[in-house]
């Protein structure tokens, strides 16, 4: 690990990407992720062969990512909710063509133009597809600035390992907040794995082709089955979560990202009142840590899900746990960030 620095979330994500060997970044300005783009504009040209390009549109940016990722180089784009909606075409194509790339979503309020406040309304979009066709993104949800840097760094490793797009799903709170970050040491590009599939000029070999197109039904069926079996491997190997105080809690609180962090404050407040709140924080939203959640839920009567949306992850929670367990939901919307004491009020309804 490298030195410790006070950094804004957006900047920490950008710098972590550069240190992970990302040399191609394409994006379009949008609040609240603008500092990420600005950091890249400043620092990507300092890298040897570093490409920063402000694209004509979100669709242009994700298509440039598709092109650059086809050459096998580490590649990223970032945006916020409305911009991520525009990128869905390209994300489906990246997944269908099995191209590694990292997409950062610093979520804001929606639907439509919404506002520029922190929100978690894009959980469905990130974890259930978003674009057309049967595909999955690996979705990583940091709850702090240091974790955002760490997961961004790791996102590139996962993308390469599985030839799959990876989304870092944070929100305006994490993007804008400043915290001390210990940045990872920069990777040596020479150490990155070779990509024999990349379109880099055929130069003595058979031509490489990057596509998501197969006209015959049997052919596409077999491609899709291979994708699904890859997703099964990812489920088995890459499910991540954090759990606190889950030995014998009075209630289990499930929250991701910013709310996962706030939940820890709720746990402290609750302890003063003699209530033991266990916390389960999914770090991979896809694959969702369903097995572990199912185990933990056996210890409690109530699994309370808290999100900054109208109830999205709670559907995965309900799919994970037995139907005799109470699974209430508490959410705030429109950019309202739930207060730890407000969450405690919800907790008290069930213990």
């Amino acid at each position: 690990m490298g030195e410790k620095k006070l950094m804004r979330g957006n900047e920490a994500i950008a710098e972590a990407a550069i240190r992970a060997g990302c040399r191609n970044y394409f994006a379009y300005p949008i609040t609240p992720q603008a500092e990420l783009l600005q950091w890249m504009a400043e620092h990507m040209p300092e890298q040897e062969n570093g490409t920063f390009l402000q694209a004509e549109s979100e669709i242009g940016a994700v298509s440039m990512v598709y092109g650059a990722a086809s050459t096998g180089e580490r590649t990223m784009t970032s945006s916020s909710s409305p911009g991520i909606s525009l990128k869905q075409e390209g994300i489906s194509y990246l997944a269908g063509s099995e191209l590694p790339a990292v997409i950062v979503n610093i979520m804001r309020g929606g639907p439509g133009l919404g506002n520029i406040q922190p929100a978690q309304g894009d959980y469905f979009q990130a974890t259930k597809g978003g674009g057309h066709g049967d595909y999955r993104l690996i979705v990583l949800a940091p709850s702090t600035v240091p974790e955002a840097a760490e997961l961004t760094f790791e996102a590139f490793e996962l993308a390469d390992r599985y030839r799959n797009p990876v989304m870092v799903l944070a929100d305006g709170m994490i993007g804008q907040m400043m915290e001390p970050v210990e940045l990872p040491s920069p990777l040596d590009l020479a150490d990155l794995p070779p990509k024999p599939w990349a379109t880099t000029g055929k130069d003595g070999r058979k031509p490489n082709v990057i596509r998501s197109f197969a006209l015959g039904a049997e052919k596409l069926k077999s491609i899709n089955e291979n994708l699904q079996s890859k997703y099964e491997n990812i489920k088995r190997a890459e499910t991540r979560y954090e759990e606190i105080g889950v030995e014998d809690p009075d209630i289990l609180l499930v929250a991701f990202g910013t709310v996962g962090r706030i939940a820890k404050s709720t746990r402290r407040l609750a302890r003063n009142e003699g209530i033991d709140v266990g916390i389960f924080r999914p770090i991979t939203l896809w694959p969702f840590p369903d097995n572990r959640l199912a185990e933990l839920s056996q210890k409690v009567d109530t699994v309370l899900t808290v999100e900054m949306n109208a109830g999205q992850m709670v559907e995965d929670v309900r799919l994970s746990v037995d139907s005799d367990i109470n699974t209430p939901f508490y959410g705030e919307q429109g950019g309202v960030v739930p207060d730890p004491s407000r969450i405690l009020e919800e907790v008290k309804k069930y213990v």
């Binding site: 004509e56 242009g60 298509s63 990512v65 092109g67 050459t71 590649t75 998501s212």
Partner: protein
């Protein structure tokens, strides 16, 4: 002829026509009289002649030429409809040492991808773009395109394209020539030997500009689609000469290097 004479003549025989190395043995699936095949071949010949087969990456559109990856013996990327210019940009920015061409139809380049194609041209991206203008959507069933001529009947303009409803045939090459970014923009046709020669020279020039790091080149081709035009191949060639060239005149539009 004596045996000696035959032997002598045969020794002097040279193979003067063959498939370019940059095409493989797969048969084109283009319709009879379509110009895509001629244009594909010319591009492959030029890649051979410039000796860049090993360092070329092609980006293919969605449409009749979606199968470029089957026919070209070079690395090929087959992205989303309309995004070819942006994808080619990504490849070239990541790997400036590669020679990158974007092959786009009129739906791709002049309709759904106009934003991407216009900005690639305006940035002067160092790529070579081939824009195949056959005045309609060939693969999906002959629908009207922004390039469709006034009065032209298509499956979505069964009474003929009217300016009142759909405006006028879009002149992408002239539009992009108004920008300061592009280096070379030309409009070509391939319906006879002379024009094929001219077109090939334009393709070569467009690749050379990229290899010399001179920036964005665009070669527009007026291309025949006899099936969707309801014509035989000879009539389709005549139509280009008599009608299409009236709206889209051939020749270099800009050349700045």
């Amino acid at each position: 002829m004596s045996e000696e004479a035959v032997a002598e003549n045969t020794a002097e025989l040279k193979k003067v026509f063959d498939r370019p190395k940059s095409l493989n043995d797969e048969k084109f699936s283009y319709c009879p009289g379509c110009h895509h095949g001629v244009i594909n071949r010319l591009i492959a010949e030029v890649i051979d002649e410039l000796g860049i087969q090993d360092s070329t990456v092609g980006t293919a559109p969605v449409g009749c030429s979606v199968f470029l990856y089957k026919w070209f013996d070079v690395d090929v990327i087959q992205p989303a409809h309309g995004r070819v210019s942006a994808v080619a940009t990504g490849v070239k920015r990541a790997r400036p040492d590669l020679t990158v061409f974007a092959y786009q139809g009129d739906g791709d380049f002049a309709s759904i991808g106009t934003n991407n194609s216009t900005h690639a041209a305006n940035r002067g991206e160092n790529i070579t773009t081939f824009f195949i203008n056959n005045t309609l959507y060939g693969m999906t069933g002959g629908e009207m395109a922004p390039t469709t001529l006034l009065g032209q009947k298509t499956t979505t303009s069964p009474h003929g394209r009217s300016a009142r409803d759909y405006g006028y045939p879009i002149k992408m090459s002239e539009m992009l020539a108004a920008l300061d970014g592009p280096t070379y923009i030309t409009r070509q046709a391939v319906y006879d030997a002379k024009r094929i020669d001219n077109a090939k020279a334009a393709i070569k020039k467009a690749f050379r500009y990229q290899m010399e790091d001179e920036g964005y080149s665009l070669v527009e081709f007026l291309s025949a689609c006899p099936i969707n035009w309801g014509m035989d191949p000879v009539e389709a060639n005549e139509r280009i000469k008599e009608e299409v060239e009236e709206v889209y005149p051939l020749g270099d539009i800009i050349e700045r290097s």
